[in-house]
């Protein structure tokens, strides 16, 4: 079937000709109705509901999504706000896709006060031609702690080259809950991938979101975090590599509602020749979020010609008593950095390679899974090995 979805809406619009306002995501795909997820055994304190009905899914979203109250209608700005009952970064049409693809919706509930020491790991190993979408709802009850790792990959020795893979995750953090959500995507060059995320944080809750995007031909990512509860905290890190000819489109929105909420978002990317990337990063300070603090930074290392590199880091302010910053740096290695590296004997190529590794490693180091960290390292090795400039540096 042919799907065409409008996703990753900019929270406020800008000039149409810049093609930033949304992304149109289309594909011809016949969903195979299969699940490829391998789960670690669930420890005590966490329960799973294997297949939520669409009604139960909608009810869950209504129950735990942001309370629909009259948003300040931003004069002249088409409010994209609150179109979903539990907002995600990619937007409402992704939920339509869940239905169309017949995605199984799994609900995980971490009981009150339960602190899971070991991360949960959901590993999806896709075969050639896989066409599937899955959805996870994670409910971390009062004071609970959990790390969930979602790992999207293919069999290293297999023949998988193409596929269509999507995932949707909604996380609800009750008061004082701590969740570390990790997403790692290492799909082959022919895959189309989307990853939609939405979260709501209650008082004193802490969400850490670590995302590593290393593969696929086309990837669409969305993340929307609604910091409803006061003093809740978000730390988001995205590391990405835009391989030659690849396309990446993402939309991250941090909405500050509660008092003294804090949000930090870091984007570390590398673009090789012919890569295309569109990024939207928004700090949205809503009225009454007094003393909220938001900080967002994107750093893009550009290592090849003929690229498309679009960024729109926005700050929206309805509340006076806040502090928000964002910064973007785009370019090659700075001359100072290059000089430092070279003064220790490295040529330009090596210095660049080290920087690529450093960027990815910096994000990978945040993932509490040794095997995945190592796999990420190998993945980067292979980038340089596949490329003409391979000079025997890789460990393969």
């Amino acid at each position: 079937m042919h799907i065409e979805k409008r996703v990753n809406h900019l929270p406020v619009l800008t000039w149409n000709r810049l093609d930033f306002n949304e992304a149109v995501f289309s594909a011809d795909v016949d969903f195979d109705g299969k699940q490829y997820i391998k789960e670690t055994a669930l420890p005590e304190g966490i329960t799973q509901t294997a297949e939520l009905s669409r009604e139960a899914f909608a009810a869950w979203c209504r129950a735990h999504g942001c309370v629909a109250r009259q948003e300040a209608v931003v004069a002249g700005k088409f409010p994209m706000y609150a179109q979903e009952t539990f907002q995600t970064g990619m937007g409402a049409e992704t939920d339509e896709l869940l239905a169309e693809a017949g995605a199984k919706i799994r609900l995980y509930e971490v009981a009150e006060g339960v602190k899971l020491a070991q991360p949960l790991r959901f590993e999806s190993i896709y075969p050639q031609g896989a066409a599937t979408v899955d959805a996870v709802l994670l409910h971390a009850k009062k004071g609970s702690e959990v790390t969930l790792i979602q790992y999207f990959t293919t069999d290293a020795n297999g023949d998988a080259e193409q596929g269509f893979v999507g995932t949707s995750t909604r996380v609800y953090l009750e008061e004082g809950a701590k969740v570390h959500l990790v997403k790692v995507q290492m799909l082959p060059k022919g895959f189309v991938f989307f990853d939609d995320m939405g979260a709501k944080t209650e008082k004193n809750a802490e969400l850490t979101y670590t995302q590593l995007e290393l593969g696929a031909a086309k990837a669409y990512l969305g993340a929307c975090v609604d910091q409803t509860g006061e003093q809740s905290v978000l730390r988001a890190d995205l590391g990405y590599v835009g391989m030659p000819g690849s396309f990446l489109d993402f939309n991250y929105v941090d909405t500050f509602r509660g008092k003294k909420t804090q949000g930090v978002m870091r984007f570390n990317g590398v673009l090789f020749e012919n890569a295309q990337k569109v990024s939207r990063e928004t700090l949205d300070f809503r009225q009454y979020c007094t003393d909220a603090d938001g900080d967002e930074e994107e750093d893009i290392l550009v290592l090849g010609d003929d690229i498309v590199n679009k960024a729109n880091p926005m700050i929206l302010g309805e509340e006076e008593k806040v502090s928000g910053r964002h910064a973007v740096t785009i370019g090659k290695l700075s001359p100072e950095m290059l000089f430092y590296m070279q003064s220790r004997g490295m040529d330009e190529m090596t210095a660049q390679e080290l920087m690529v590794r450093a960027r990815i490693q910096e994000v990978a180091n945040r993932i509490p899974d040794e095997e995945i960290r190592r796999a990420a390292g190998f993945y980067v090795d292979r980038i340089f090995c596949d490329r003409e400039n391979c000079h025997g540096m890789c460990r393969i």
Binding site: P335, L338, S343, M355
Partner: protein
């Protein structure tokens, strides 16, 4: 006199994007295994000279030559100079999140030798060096210079110096703004480097790390010109009398 490791002939240089010269016809010889000190008031061009020897793209050489062990390197790339054995300590070394000092050094050594680094030997060398400098093992695991204090950064530079084993080390204001502990580490590192036959060109305006060192030659740089060559005693003389007699 020992065989020259570094020879500078009639070197003039300035900022690459501006016309004005900072160094005017510098002549300098540094013999193998010797310790030289380059002194001078602020703005004399001391750091410029160190950077120009390393080949910093910020500066442009307009006249003259730089020779390393008799071979001209004036037009060499920065990494070529490093591979030939020059090391410059940075006043403010750059931070690289995600890259551990260990990975950084492993790459640097592999580049220099052109051979894969033998991990066991490398680790052993790291341990020994840390011990010699009385430094914490966490240094090498931390991301390169990230979140290092001023003193830690300078200690890390000295640590790199001992691991990379260059022939000539140019230490630029390595002792400025250091606490006693850091000065001790830095001095110790320098002493070890020297004992192993290393040649030193120390750029400084204070002299704390020099107290523990035997200085062979001292050069005074004023307004981009070397106005005085002398032996180690010149350091004491300047400490007493300052630069006044060399200015104007």
């Amino acid at each position: 006199m020992a065989e020259n490791i570094l020879e500078i002939k009639g070197l003039s240089a300035g900022l690459a994007n501006e016309g004005e010269e900072i160094l005017h016809g510098i002549d300098l010889q540094v013999g193998k295994g010797e310790t030289h000190v380059l002194m001078g008031p602020n703005g004399a061009g001391k750091s410029t000279l160190g950077n120009v020897i390393m080949g910093s793209p910020v500066y442009k050489v307009s006249k003259g030559q730089i020779l390393l062990e008799g071979g001209e390197i004036t037009k060499d790339s920065v990494d070529a100079r490093a591979k030939k054995g020059i090391f410059l300590s940075f006043q403010n070394p750059l931070e690289v999140p995600g890259l551990s000092m260990e990975a950084f050094l492993r790459n640097a050594i592999r580049e220099k030798t052109g051979k894969p680094v033998k991990i066991f030997q490398f680790k052993k060398k790291i341990e020994e060096t840390l011990k010699l400098l009385d430094m914490d093992a966490s240094y090498v695991e931390r991301d390169l210079n990230v979140g290092f204090s001023g003193g830690e950064k300078k200690k890390a530079e000295i640590f790199q110096l001992l691991l990379l084993e260059p022939k000539l080390a140019i230490l630029d204001e390595t002792d400025s703004g250091l606490d006693v502990d850091a000065v001790r580490t830095v001095s110790k590192g320098i002493e070890i480097f020297r004992q192993n036959g290393g040649t030193l060109l120390i750029i400084t305006h204070s002299t704390r790390i020099l107290d523990a060192l035997t200085v062979d030659h001292t050069h005074v740089l004023v307004d981009g010109r070397i106005v005085k060559h002398g032996d180690g005693t010149l350091v004491d003389e300047i400490n007493r009398g300052g630069y006044a007699k060399y200015i104007g």
